[in-house]
Every structure is written in structure tokens, then in C-alpha cells.
């Protein structure tokens, strides 16, 4: 009887304010999609930093035998040369931190950049011998790098230096813009959806005021009175989430997997694993975002 009462109420409630609920579902859908894309972008940023380094980094690539980048390199960098380089870097106040990267690590990064095809098979294009050792320097300030570059550039065993700042900055700017604009839009729309939830509750409370008044008088518990409202909020949230998860999936498929990653071959892109993580976050967060305001607002409008 109780369950039937609750489900009847829920169905009536959803039908009574169908247009309002649809508005909530749609705003939630758009805001959660944007929030999801924002989350994906921050994961993309992390992945990009992992592979190509942040703008705080300088990469000092060390000599290979027959180095294709630098003719003055005649052999693989020696241990003495490496320790001289380490001393020069360590002495420089611009440097926050640095570490050597082995040939194996370097090969892994190459693989991530170029895709595994050229590293496999009986006669791969690249082997570990083709991967140069390197030093990754992290700067205190992305704009103070002249001293470090000058100190290291002419040392023996150094093939060439790349400033991540130059290569990476446009990429990060793009990712940041995407990320923050989607967060911002998501926040604004989320506010809109909470206001819509508030309006829906107010309308419903008005439509059902006689019933609610009687429920209070005969001693229905607060949770029992609020339950239809909470369930309505939950249903709309889950519909919104379902649509948003779909939209983020479409974004993953068409913008990332089948889009950018086809065009921008030099960068690795996130995929379905990140989509799954993002969806999980949305599934957990969205109901909280609608149910909590509903709890507070039912208290307010129903005088519970």
C-alpha cells in the first residue's frame, strides 16, 4: 500500500509538471555534458603533460652516436659528460628540479607520440638504440630559462634543447580555454537547473497543499511527505545524467577518437577509459546536486 501510494504519487507528480521536469532534464543534460567535457579536458591536459611536459619544463636531449639532430655528436653521451651537465644544471638558480631520462623511458614516450606500429615486428623502424637519453628540467618560473639554456647548450654531450613553453603553450591554452569555459557554462546552467527544481517544488507544493497539510496533521513523517519530491528530483537527475553520458560519449567518439587524434598525430588523446571515469563522476554527482537542494527546499516550502 505504501509503495503503491509512493509510486502513484511519483507518476502523478511527473505528469503534473511534465514541462517543468522536461526543462530540468534538459538544463541538467546540457550542464552535465559541459561539466563532463570539462572533466575530459582536464584529463587530456594531464595526459599531455605526462607525455610532452608542462610549460615549466626544458628538455635537454643528449647525444646519440651518429646523432641525426647534431653533427658534433660523435658518440653516445658519456657518464663524465652527464655529471658535468648535472652540475651545471644543479648550480643554476632558475632550476626547481631535474632528472635524467633513460633510453628506455625515452622510447616509451616516442611510442606514445608516434603510435606503437613503428616499434613492433621483427624489423622495427625505431629501437631502444635510436632513443636518446635526456634531462628533464623543471623551472621555477616558465619565463626564466635563458641562464639554464646558456649554461647547458654548449656542454659536450648535449644534442639539442627544447623549450616546452614554445611547443606546449598553444596546446595548453586551448585545453584550458575549453576546460574553463565548459566549467563556467556548466556552473551557470547548474544554477539554472537548481532554480528550476526550486520552482517545480514550489508549484507542486502549491498544487498539493491540501494533501500535504493533511499529511502533516495526521502525523506522516517528514521523509514520507518529502519522498515524492525527492524521487521526482532523482528521476529527472538520472534522465539528465543518461543524456549527458551519451553526449560525452559522442564527444569522445567524434571529437577525440575519430576527430582530433586523426588530425593531430603528434599528441596522444584520451579515450573510453576517461569517458567511463567521467560518467561515473556524473552519475554520482548529479543526483546529489538535485536531491540536496530538494531536501532543503522541501523543508522550506512544506514547512517540514
Amino acid at each position: 500500500m505504501q509503495l503503491r501510494h509512493v509510486s502513484t504519487n511519483l507518476r502523478q507528480g511527473l505528469r503534473r509538471n511534465a514541462s517543468m521536469h522536461l526543462a530540468v532534464v534538459l538544463t541538467l543534460f546540457v550542464s552535465l555534458s559541459l561539466a563532463g567535457i570539462g572533466l575530459m579536458m582536464s584529463k587530456q591536459a594531464e595526459l599531455t603533460v605526462d607525455v610532452i611536459g608542462s610549460e615549466l619544463q626544458i628538455q635537454v636531449v643528449l647525444c646519440l652516436p651518429d646523432d641525426p639532430q647534431n653533427a658534433s655528436c660523435t658518440s653516445e653521451v658519456t657518464e663524465e659528460q652527464k655529471s658535468a651537465i648535472a652540475t651545471a644544471i644543479d648550480d643554476n638558480p632558475e632550476v626547481a628540479d631535474f632528472r635524467f631520462e633513460s633510453k628506455a623511458e625515452s622510447l616509451e614516450k616516442l611510442k606514445a607520440l608516434l603510435g606503437p606500429e613503428q616499434f613492433e615486428g621483427p624489423d622495427p623502424v625505431f629501437t631502444v638504440e635510436d632513443a636518446p637519453q635526456a634531462v628533464r628540467i623543471t623551472l621555477e618560473d616558465p619565463n626564466d630559462f635563458d641562464g639554464t639554456v646558456d649554461a647547458v647548450a654548449n656542454l659536450d654531450g648535449v644534442s639539442y634543447i627544447t623549450l616546452a613553453k614554445d611547443e606546449v603553450k598553444p596546446i595548453f591554452t586551448l585545453i584550458d580555454v575549453l576546460q574553463y569555459s565548459s566549467w563556467g557554462a556548466a556552473a551557470a546552467l547548474l544554477l539554472a537547473s537548481i532554480l528550476l527544481v526550486a520552482n517545480t517544488i514550489r508549484l507542486t507544493a502549491l498544487a498539493r497543499r491540501k494533501e500535504i497539510e493533511i499529511m502533516r496533521l495526521v502525523g506522516a513523517s517528514r521523509i514520507f511527505i518529502a519522498l515524492p519530491f525527492l524521487l521526482e528530483a532523482l528521476v529527472t537527475a538520472l534522465l539528465g545524467v543518461a543524456l549527458a553520458v551519451g553526449a560525452v560519449a559522442a564527444f569522445t567518439q567524434f571529437a577525440l577518437i575519430g576527430g582530433l587524434s586523426e588530425v593531430v598525430r603528434a599528441l596522444p588523446f584520451i579515450g573510453w577509459a576517461e569517458w567511463a571515469e567521467t560518467s561515473l563522476v556524473l552519475v554520482v554527482v548529479a543526483p546529489i546536486l538535485t536531491v540536496v537542494p530538494t531536501l532543503l527546499l522541501t523543508r522550506k516550502y512544506l514547512r517540514l
Binding site: M1, Q2, E213, L217, V218, F224
Partner: protein
């Protein structure tokens, strides 16, 4: 204006009044609303024993409604204490208030039936929303409709009923959970005198089964006829408390 009559009513059984715990007790209750107005209730002390029938009379604004709302814990007194069945209800945690209200049935002047439910559903609603089982409800509702004399109208909609019948449905809804106390706020206010008599007979019958009845009213005829205990409020003070009273001296 008034000469307070003999009081208080609870001493009418000498020697027992102190040992019987009143089912309702107001202890020096004052309730002020925001604003410069005088308090709605001013140092009111009332005791009602189990099984009593009490009229609460007084002009509009004398504090009757405030007293009833305090009893239902719709609000708390500014100072003083309100007890129901020995429990101080103004100190009750909010989540326990529904349990208090399940012990108190309430009836109003405007019936407050749900227009989209029939008689039997209106009565059943009170049990559904406190989580009673369907079997329980099926058994209890017809019994209660029989008590109020509406067994033959269980499937009618409220709009098809007369005012008196609608009030009977409201009484059935208030009584279906067998409350200890029945509060009636102007229950005959919308009814003609003949119908009022029927409602009062019903309330008297309910009272005879042990339910304490507290009825706020303006209805002189009803009060004079019943010869029950009368408590009169005036500007928030108890000015009269008679064991078997009439509405006022002017009548």
C-alpha cells in the same frame, strides 16, 4: 465585564485530581508573535484530564487557535510548557512531532477533505501516509465509517455530500487511527443548527468511548446544550473555567 466562575474543573473529583496526570496541560504558557501586539496567550494554565469534553470559547483573537496550534506543535510557546500525556511537547525533537500528531485527531470548520478522493479513500489516506498496511486499512476504514454513520456512502465523492456528512468524513479521518485526543476547531461553524446537533451527538459518542475532546467554538447554542466543561479565553487569558458551563453570561 466577567466574573470568573468557579474553578478549576479538575478538582471535581476531590482528592484524585492531583494524582491523575492530565492528558493535556498548559503551564503558564505565553505566546507572543512578532510585532508590538499583546501576547496571543498570556500566562495560561489549563489542565484537561483523560476522557474530558472541554469547550474552548472566546471571541476571535482571544487565543483559541493559538492554544490549539501549540497543542499540535505547529509552533512553540514563548514561555511556559505544554504537556500532552505527560510529555513536554515543546521540547520534543522535530522528527518526533509526527508521532505526537498521530495521537491527536483534528477536525476543522472547513472539513479539509481531498476533493479527488471518495469518502473511504479520504479516511484511508490518513492511515496510508503513516505507513499502515493495506490489510489494516481495509479492516479499520469501514469500522470508522460505521462509527460516524456513513457506511452507505463510502464510495461517494465529497462534493456529493452535505456539509454535515462532509464533517462526519473529516471526523472519521481524525478518529481512524484511534487518537487519544480529538481537537475540533469550530466543527459546526459551517453547519446549520440541526446538522450541528448531529455532529455534537457524534462527538459526545466519541467522547464516551474515552477520547478526550477539546473543541474551540463560537457556537452558543451548542455549548449551552451540552453542559460540558467550558474554558473561556479573553485577550489571551483564561477568564473562566467551569465544570458544566454555558457559553457566556450574556445568554
Amino acid at each position: 465585564m466577567y466574573r470568573p466562575g468557579p474553578r478549576p474543573a479538575f478538582s471535581r473529583i476531590p482528592g484524585t485530581s492531583r494524582t491523575v496526570r492530565p492528558v493535556i496541560r498548559f503551564e503558564k504558557v505565553t505566546k507572543s508573535y512578532a510585532g508590538p501586539d499583546k501576547p496571543a496567550l498570556n500566562q495560561v494554565t489549563i489542565n484537561v484530564d483523560k476522557g474530558e469534553f472541554v469547550f474552548l470559547v472566546g471571541a476571535s483573537g482571544s487565543g483559541k487557535s493559538t492554544a490549539l496550534r501549540l497543542l499540535l506543535r505547529e509552533m512553540r510557546p514563548t514561555t511556559g510548557r505544554v504537556y500532552v500525556a505527560g510529555k513536554e511537547i515543546n521540547r520534543l525533537a522535530t522528527w518526533k512531532v509526527p508521532r505526537l500528531r498521530r495521537q491527536i485527531g483534528t477536525v476543522f470548520q472547513d472539513f479539509r477533505l481531498l476533493p479527488n478522493k471518495n469518502v473511504s479513500e479520504n479516511v484511508a489516506f490518513a492511515l496510508q501516509v503513516i505507513g499502515r498496511s493495506g490489510r489494516d486499512i481495509k479492516r479499520t476504514v469501514p469500522e470508522t465509517l460505521e462509527l460516524v454513520g456513513l457506511s452507505d456512502k463510502a464510495n461517494r465523492m465529497p462534493e456529493e455530500l452535505s456539509g454535515g456528512e462532509q464533517q462526519r468524513v473529516a471526523i472519521a479521518r481524525a478518529m481512524v487511527n484511534h487518537p487519544m485526543i480529538l481537537i475540533a476547531d469550530e466543527p459546526t461553524g459551517n453547519l446549520d443548527p440541526a446538522t450541528s446537533v448531529g455532529i455534537m451527538k457524534l462527538l459526545d459518542r466519541i467522547n464516551a468511548t474515552g477520547t478526550t475532546v477539546l473543541m474551540a467554538t463560537h457556537d452558543h447554542g451548542v455549548v449551552d446544550q451540552m453542559r460540558k466543561r467550558v474554558i473561556e479565553l479573553d485577550h489571551g487569558r483564561v477568564v473562566r473555567d467551569e465544570a458544566t458551563g454555558v457559553y457566556g453570561f450574556q445568554h
